[in-house]
Amino acid sequence: MSDLFNVSSSPHIRSKDTSSRIMQYVVLALLPTTLFGIYNFGIKAVILIAVTIASCIASEWGYEKIVHKKSTINDWSCVVTGLLLALNLPATLPWWEAVIGGFFAIVVVKMLFGGLGQNFMNPALGARCFLLIAFAADMTNFTIDSYSGATPLALMRNGESVNLMDMLIGKTAGTIGETSVIAILIGAIILILLGVIDLRIPGTYIITFVVFMLLFSGHGFDMNYIVAQLCGGGLMLGAFFMATDYVTSPITPTGRIVFGICLGIFTGLFRTFGANAEGVSFAIILSNLLVPIIEKYTVPRAFGVVKEVKKHE
């Protein structure tokens, strides 16, 4: 028995899908809204997107170099983080602030907690909120040549009317990637068709949000208002691309539904009663923090296991 064969535990075959392939799918799905953002905001957007992604890749590579870990930049997750962060920034943001954002997303939110799979908060949104606090003025400066400086949600808050068609197409003020609902939905369809996400989280999120707004926004059954609320302020981008982030959402099927409901309630609360017209980023981050507890109470009942009746001992 000189040449023995490899042994391993079953199963002995593996599917072709890999983590990096999934990340590449997400990047692909983000392309429509990225391209629209570039069309909308011009060369500034291109530079900002490139700088943010580069910052994320460099941060991950550098951090792993310093702590003597095997480089994981090949898994493409830092590219997804960088792209998502860039899409959540106004095109006018100074490039060096974006670099700091990328560093914060990767090193502070992700790597310090153990790297991919261990972070409890969406890195791109963590960094966005960090930037919102650190550079509040730059982060809310949406001045674009052809549009008014205020986002549709801010306009609505002030009682002004908004053009729904513009919001669907994306000819409004906002961050690079949040404005075009159509482009985002094309990306969402790509994600669903490729099997990357299902509708559990985005579906319950959107439904819960609509119900909340109908009940508590004070606008009643004003469909224009509800649709505008859905299309504005990064809700679509958040629902399909950031709330569905695998790492920071529950793994249990029921948990995903509960998570979506939390998101809808938080977003509604923040938008209706908060100081800010927006609220998606904070809603997602806050819900991220609830994931462990949601999972704890949504352990699926195994096949054939009947609900246990507590016995008196």
Binding site: M1, L4, F5, N6, V7, S8, S9, S10, P11, H12, I13, R14, S15, D17, T18, S19, R21, I22, T72, D75, S77, G115, L116, G117, Q118, Y246, V247, S249, I251, T252, P253, R256, V299, P300, R301, A302, F303, G304, V305, V306
Partner: protein, 439 residues
């Protein structure tokens, strides 16, 4: 009506085209035959021959070691050469009877039963027990035990497991194509034991020819029907099959009989027919040698005890460099490090691949994608169970229903991070069950 199936599962490349159209050919062993005394679940059999004895084909060489046990028969004529520990396909050393084959195939006398319907239930079960019939799909549970449930009147379904959901395997398929009447006859005998039961042949819809044949054969049988199942792994898992056919679910603490079901594999039902009607003990089975490293993939009618090397040689040996060999299917089979092992009652195939897919992928971090959750036919959360296993958290593991795992391997198969989830879960399961037995 939609096709019958279960929740979860995966769709691996099935590879059955390599061997599915190769008619079964008889393979006469040349070398020594090895009969491990433990080829079934339960107590090992006790040898009743001594070194130097001459035996006939069909002669009993080992007696059942208890109620949950099974006797073993010689499948060739020859001389007992040794009784010693030998390597078996799953890798263990098991005490075995080695018979030097004289190549003459001198048979013992088998007593046929002309009218099976005149036999009493006790006689039928006695014949099955005496013939050494065990579950031939892989588990090897003694069939006479399965057919003696506590409350026979509560059995409503006899399910023939004709799913053959493991990729690459074609032995059950060939049996259904070539001798479906034996399968139906086996079913008829089992139905005789359970007058209230209905016989269902559960076949995956990727075998339309088998479905047609079985439908044709059972069209006048009022108590039999053919269930078309969706092609999905693990459709042939006992719990999944029962659910697909009856919509009843059982857990790890229950037996199929608790849901009014008895499930038997194709080969087992044929063995029941051979035992009861022909009086033949279990000596042969159909065995597939296939995979992209096999020169000429084949289905063989083999003598139990035949050496794997002989079967590979009969299929033309290796083609290209073989990197991985598996006894059984690619999802639940056992990787082997060498071929000097005998076919047992539960051996269905030898697979040889030029690539080791497990080695080809590096393990990366879990991204919590939930694909394992979607794939798990037991509705578990494999990635969490694997974590608990690695961290030794047996109590949380049990709370998350880890013991319900059927070890089908669907989670490891779909994992994009290529984590050996099933392996981790199995390890913890073994530890917990071992600790429970100690108590």
């Amino acid at each position: 009506m939609g096709l019958m199936t279960f929740k979860g599962g995966v769709h691996p490349y099935d590879g059955k085209d390599l061997s599915k159209d190769k008619p079964v050919s008889e393979l006469l062993p040349k070398g020594d035959l090895v009969y491990p005394l433990s080829q079934h679940i339960g107590a090992p059999a006790t040898p009743i021959v001594a070194v130097g004895d001459t035996v006939l084909r069909g002669q009993k060489i080992a007696e059942a070691g208890g109620f949950v046990s099974s006797p073993i028969y010689a499948s060739v004529s020859g001389k007992v050469k040794a009784i010693e520990p030998r390597r078996v396909p799953v890798g263990d050393m098991v005490n075995s009877i080695v018979i030097e084959n004289d190549g003459q195939m001198k048979e013992a006398e088998f007593v046929k039963t002309d009218d099976v319907t005149k036999l009493s239930n006790e006689e039928i079960i006695g014949k099955i027990k005496e013939a050494g019939v065990v579950g031939m799909g892989g588990a090897g549970f003694p069939t006479h035990v399965k057919l003696s449930p506590k409350e026979p009147d509560k059995i409503e379904y006899i399910i023939a497991n004709c799913a053959e959901c493991e990729p690459y395997l074609t032995s059950d398929y060939r049996r259904m194509i070539e001798q479906p009447e034996k399968l139906v006859a086996g079913m008829r005998i089992v139905l005789q034991l359970f007058p209230r039961a209905k016989g269902v042949f559960g076949v995956e819809d990727n075998k339309p020819d088998c479905i047609a044949k079985l439908k044709e054969l059972t069209k006048d049988e009022s108590r039999m029907e053919v269930a078309e199942l969706k092609t999905k792994y693990p459709q042939g898992g006992e719990r999944q099959l029962i659910y697909a056919v009856t919509k009843r679910s059982i857990n790890s603490k229950m037996l199929p009989a608790d849901a009014g079901c008895i499930v038997d594999n194709v080969e087992t039902l044929v063995a029941i027919y051979n035992a009861v009607a022909l009086g033949q003990p279990l000596m042969n089975r159909i065995f597939t040698v296939t995979g992209n490293a096999v020169a000429n993939p084949q289905n063989f009618y083999i003598c139990i005890g035949t050496n794997y090397q002989e079967m590979l040689d009969a299929a033309g040996g290796f083609k290209g460099e073989c990197k991985k060999m598996i006894a059984g299917g690619p999802m639940m089979g056992f990787a082997m490090f060498g071929l000097d092992v005998p076919a047992t009652k539960t051996s269905s195939s030898l697979l040889c691949f030029t690539e080791d897919e497990v080695e080809a992928f590096a393990e990366t971090a879990c991204i919590n994608c939930g694909r394992c959750v979607e794939a798990c036919p037991e509705l578990l959360v494999p990635s969490r169970l694997a974590d608990y296993s690695k961290n030794g958290l047996s109590d949380v593991f049990e709370k998350w229903h880890g013991l319900e795992c059927v070890e089908c391997g669907s989670c490891s198969y779909v994992c994009p991070a290529k984590r050996p989830l099933a392996q981790s879960v199995k390890t913890m399961k073994k530890q917990i069950l071992a600790a429970k037995r100690k108590k």
